[in-house]
């Protein structure tokens, strides 16, 4: 990659991050219908209403996640906190969930939801998933829900996951994929589809 194309790529990357940041910061409407579609009633019974109304994931990865008591988990892009709360319940009082997001607004929501849920094992952390502000080999299990598709540099995100995970660590994530056949250009170039 030449210096010019690298610079252009980084500018585009910054532009995409700006679009995603603005779109998520502006979310005000409830997504409770989505949460009730993705999660079971038993799961939602353990989550404060505010976190239910801010669910923006694409799946129910925690249904499949093997979470051991005492694990240190990292929720990559925690959003309103629904998955961090569900994971913290399963990791128990000896466990810890690091809730990472690049939006302070989301971290505030997650913290408030954790307090309301009576959980003191959720640690909010502000940062970029392309440069996770954690030491090497510091996490047992990474969870993420609908976030990696938002990152301009996905290989970088996954390399960071590998860096912070301990050897043999677990990754359980839900994300959006697309078919080889592309969507119409008017849609894939629309700013709203970079965040949604």
């Amino acid at each position: 990659m030449t210096e010019t194309s690298l610079r252009r790529d980084l500018m585009r990357s910054a532009e995409i991050k700006g679009i995603v940041r603005s779109a998520y910061a502006a979310v005000d409407a409830s997504s409770e219908t989505l949460a009730r579609k993705l999660y079971s009633a038993e799961q939602l019974a353990r989550v404060p209403q505010n976190a239910i109304e801010r669910a923006l994931g694409v799946g129910n990865h925690l249904r499949h996640a093997e979470i051991d008591p005492g694990e240190t988990l990292l929720d990559l892009g925690c959003g309103g906190g629904i998955d961090a709360i569900l994971a913290a319940h399963r990791a128990g009082p000896a466990g810890r969930v690091i809730a990472l997001d690049f939006l302070p607004e989301m971290l505030e929501r997650t913290s408030a939801a954790a307090i309301e849920a009576g959980l003191d094992t959720i640690q909010p952390l502000e940062g970029d998933i392309e440069a996770i502000p954690l030491p090497d080999d510091s996490v047992d299990h990474i969870i993420s829900n609908g976030v990696i598709n938002l990152a301009p540099r996905k290989a970088r995100v996954l390399a960071e996951c590998a860096r912070v995970l301990r050897s043999g660590g677990k990754l359980t994530l839900a994300d959006l994929t697309v078919a080889e056949e592309e969507l119409p250009p008017e849609i894939v170039t629309h700013p709203a589809t970079w965040a949604g």
């Binding site: 995409i16 779109a23 998520y24 979310v27 005000d28 409407a29 409830s30 997504s31 219908t33 989505l34 579609k37 923006l56 694409v58 799946g59 129910n60 990865h61 249904r63 499949h64 996640a65 080999d137 609908g146 598709n149 938002l150 990152a151 301009p152 996905k154 290989a155 996954l158 390399a159 996951c161 590998a162 995970l165 301990r166 050897s167 043999g168 660590g169 677990k170 990754l171 359980t172 994530l173 839900a174 994300d175 959006l176 994929t177 697309v178 078919a179 080889e180 969507l183 119409p184 008017e186 849609i187 894939v188 170039t189 629309h190 709203a192 589809t193 970079w194 965040a195 949604g196």
Partner: protein, 76 residues
């Protein structure tokens, strides 16, 4: 959605990052009506989808996957 990978590319990037035992344990089609549940999709873009995507594709414009993987134990 504009930044989503194909499943094959996603798995390939996981492998290149050092993950093993990669397993797709769930696949859920995502259509235009599913997108409408997200406040992130504006009415404008939903309208574009309904206008520009052929009706037969509107039920599956993407697939939500659940992936499990392990980091290679040989990590040094």
């Amino acid at each position: 959605m504009a930044g989503a990978l194909t499943e094959r590319d996603f798995v390939d990037k996981l492998q290149r990052a050092g993950f093993t035992k990669i397993e797709i344990v769930e696949r859920t089609p995502m259509g235009v009506d599913d997108c409408a549940l997200y406040p992130l999709f504006t009415p404008e873009v939903l309208n574009l989808m309904r206008t520009l995507i052929p009706p037969e594709r509107q039920r599956t414009i993407g697939t939500a996957i659940v992936v499990q993987a392990r980091l290679d134990t040989s990590k040094s």
